[in-house]
Assembly symmetry: C2
Homo-oligomer: 101 residues x 2
């Protein structure tokens, strides 16, 4: 249950890499990476794709941390947040079974 920032930072440090190095590998400005790892900027879908590929073995972990952070961000201040989440889950499940082509 880690934030996307925490997830990315831990993965990077595990590999002993610098922001500069990851940045160079993925063409992302290191200062932007810093902000992302500090949850100061949300990475874009493309950045998450690149990062999740970069940290291969933890691909899904990265994506799930990112998606869940985006969800939380959307409703964290709401009293009905949890109730809304449950309904959203049902809606997703419904869409999944009834999805178009």
């Amino acid at each position: 249950m880690k934030s996307i920032g925490q997830t990315l930072r831990e993965l990077r440090e595990l590999k002993g890499l610098l922001l500069r190095e990851v940045g160079a590998a993925l063409s992302i400005d290191p200062t932007l990476l810093s902000k992302i790892e500090r949850n100061d900027r949300m990475p874009t879908k493309e950045q998450v794709s690149a990062l999740s590929e970069f940290y291969q073995d933890k691909k899904n972990e990265v994506i799930i941390a990112w998606l869940s952070d985006k969800l939380v961000y959307e409703i964290q201040d709401e009293d009905l947040a949890l109730a809304a989440m449950k309904v959203a889950e049902q809606k997703i499940e419904y869409l999944k079974t009834h999805k178009a082509q």
Copy 2:
């Protein structure tokens, strides 16, 4: 499990009101209300507040339909949508118990 648009349309029709009438009561352009009821535009937080007050008895229903739609919108195309929802739920619960003043 209704969309925000469907929820609002049904509530309005139950009261036998016209878009024009609800619009006048809440200072919202009727053509915008039309789009909202057709899920073509997301209402803003302020509009949802006004609308949920207007349809008093169904206040929470309106808010939950809106919040859950926003959540779904955020992740509906993702394979990991459901997994992310579960994690987001945990994060919300965590924030709820550990929330700052």
